[in-house]
Every structure is written in structure tokens, then in C-alpha cells.
Symmetry: C2
Subunit: 192 residues, 2 copies
DNA sequence: CACGTTTTTGTGCGATCGCTTCAAAACGTC
DNA sequence: GACGTTTTGAAGCGATCGCACAAAAACGTG
């Protein structure tokens, strides 16, 4: 019928995601995007519309990969406290492992774009609530197993863990003391 | 001796701070800066060097005003737990009060610039450690007063509170449920 | 009130921004 | 293999970017 695409759309979105993730929305130029994706400008704009829509696609791609991975990690069998710890420790180690990585893409989007763009805010909220629900499940599981006190609302506990988690991922930007960050994890989890 | 300045340097830095604070570094143009400060481009560049240095000045200005205020708030007399709560609740209310406000400037700087610019990283770290020290003092005070268990290292507890605090200020970007955020405050403080 | 010094004002530099255009190229279909 | 359709590649659009420059203006000093 017509000329077929030479590139894989998902690969292009992933490449764009990595650019936005590391540099942020504003600091990523269309030139960066064409370079990283390997697409010409017309292919890129013909396929994705404009920079903003590609950013949204990148966020959704992050959901499918990283955010999804996190819920899987939390839902794995074993003591709930171990799951929560593994989840938080992994985030710390990812953030500290490579100075080139830029932490959590969702966190970056929250700060840079969420309050000026309703669509981005909604997409970011989707990520956060998904993790929050996975946390609630894990907390409830811990309560049923007697790991945590059963008196508190699992949803409130989940949000508390979530706050500590995002706070930690922020602190990795200025702290390089891994042990200090791990102490925060222990302090947070022991309080449940 | 020479022609005197027509503008107040501190006022100009403050105006620039508000621009960077709300829009971020990249999204703030030199045009924005000249408009908000009221200075012509050459006055601005003659005084501050370039955009990046003005951004650093804006961060330092934030330290003098907002960050300093926070340490004062924490050091006020009364129960330590009340000080910590007032500090966190105020942040939540500031973030939720006006959709025009952009949360915490230091937090924004951490995400947008800290890991690509060593000077900015150092400046941001100065803010964070200042608050951390104030927190440590407050926690130690609470331990002496018997409000908190004395067994834990005040420094570790301070970092835990700090994580929850920054996590909260992030969640205000996507949550508008004030009560849920206040529950996190209570959960965090009751765990000490 | 001329002089030296610094700031201000106005203009605009070269580069880059996000994005568009257009013709050539690459398919499936007949 | 001509046709219709879509993608690709190359070039470049107007606008804006961060910043610089030259001349005029505003002071303290002699």
C-alpha cells in the first residue's frame, strides 16, 4: 500500500525517553531527539506530533518498563518488609551507581512539568498511584503476616513509605553516603 | 566617581529567584530575567556575569530567606515534635495554597541542575545540610525531653525526617489531598 | 564645569530553538 | 511496471536563545 517504516517505534520512544530522562524536557532539543532516535526531523514529527507528545510517550514508556518493574518487585513472595527494603535499596543503588543516570524519570517530570501541564500531571499521577497501590498491597500483606502492627490504615502507611522513598531518591542527588541512606530505609521500615 | 546604580541588587536577585523558582533554569529566558528584574540586558550581564551565575545568586538568596526561615522555625521553643510538625505542615500548606507557587526552589534545583553542575550541587548541599543540622538539634532536644526514644542516632533520625519532608513536598505536586499528606506527617513523627 | 568612570539604553549579533516543507524513495496493488 | 500512498532525507523557515557592543547618560572629583 505505502512505504513501510524503517524504524521501530518503541525503540524510538525508548531513545527519546533516555534523552528526556537525563536532560529534562527543556534541556532536550529536537536535535538531541533526532540524534538519539536516529530519525530525521520529519519522521519524528510525522510519527509523534511534537516534542510535548513525544515526552508524554516517553513517560508512558517509562511506566511500561521501570514503573511496572517496581510493582513486580513489590509483589514478589516473601516477607513484606524485605520487599519494601529491596525496593528502596535498589532505588538508592541505581541512583548512586552511575553519575550519568538521572534518578527517577517520574520524579523529574513531577518537578519540571507536572504543575504546568495537566496531561503530564495526570500521567505522573498514574505512575505514583500505581506504586502507591502496590505499596498498600504489600503493607496489608505485612500486617496480615504480623510483620507490622495491624492498627494503622494500610493506605496511610503506604503513603508514608512513598514519601520516604521519593525523599531518598532526592537526597541521592546531594548525598553520596550510601550507609546514611540505608539507615533511613531501616528507620522508616522499623517504624511500621 | 562614577555613575551610580539605579537598582537595588538584592531586589534584582530576588526577582530573578522568583523567575527561576517558578519556571526552572532552562525555561527561564534572559528576556524573562530582564522583564522581572526591570534591568536592561547589559546591566544584568554587567552585574551578574551570566545566566548561570545569576542562578547561583538566586539560590543563595533563597538560602538567606526561605532556608534560614526554616531553621528558625525549627529552633523555636516548645516541644520538638510540635516544631517538626509545624515545619512540615507549613511546607504542605505553602505548596497547596497557590497553584502558582512552585514548591521548594532547592528541591527544584536538586532535580534540574545539581547533578550536572558541581557548583550548584555544592550550593544545594549547603541548604540541605543546614536543614539537616537544624533537624538534628531539634531531634536531640526531643530526645532529652523524653519525647522521642533516646536509643537512635539523632543524625539518622534527622535524615529520616528530611527524607519524609522532601518526599511530601514532591507528593504535593500530584496529590491535592491535604489530609492524606498530614497523615504522613503524623505517621512519620509518631515513629520517632 | 570639564574629566574619568561606571551604568544605562538600544540594538542586534551568531547560534540554536521547535518545527515545516518538498521532492525523492520505497513499498503494496493492479 | 505505472499508480497511490506513506516515509524518508535535506534544507531551511521564523522565532527566540544567551549575550555583546557602542554610544549616551549620570554621577564624584578636580
Amino acid at each position: 500500500m505505502a512505504r513501510p517504516r524503517k524504524f521501530d517505534e518503541t525503540r524510538a520512544v525508548t531513545a527519546a525517553m533516555n534523552a528526556f530522562w537525563r536532560q529534562g524536557y527543556e534541556a532536550t532539543s529536537t536535535r538531541d531527539l533526532t540524534d538519539r532516535t536516529g530519525l530525521g526531523p520529519s519522521s519524528l514529527y510525522n510519527t509523534f506530533g511534537d516534542k510535548r507528545q513525544l515526552y508524554l510517550r516517553a513517560l508512558r514508556r517509562y511506566y511500561e518498563t521501570n514503573t511496572g518493574e517496581q510493582t513486580v518487585l513489590l509483589a514478589e513472595p516473601g516477607p513484606a518488609k524485605d520487599r519494601l527494603r529491596a525496593w528502596m535499596v535498589q532505588a538508592i543503588d541505581v541512583d548512586l551507581s552511575d553519575p550519568e543516570t538521572a534518578g527517577c524519570f517520574v520524579l523529574n517530570a513531577m518537578v519540571e512539568k507536572a504543575d504546568q501541564d495537566p496531561d503530564i500531571k495526570q500521567e505522573v499521577r498514574r505512575h505514583v498511584t500505581t506504586i502507591e497501590h502496590a505499596l498498600r498491597e504489600t503493607v496489608a500483606r505485612g500486617q496480615r503476616a504480623g510483620e507490622f502492627g495491624p492498627e494503622r490504615d494500610p493506605a496511610a502507611v503506604a503513603r508514608q513509605v512513598l514519601s520516604a522513598y521519593y525523599g531518598l531518591r532526592l537526597l541521592t542527588r546531594v548525598y553520596d553516603d550510601r550507609q546514611a541512606l540505608l539507615d533511613v530505609v531501616d528507620g522508616t521500615l522499623n517504624a511500621l
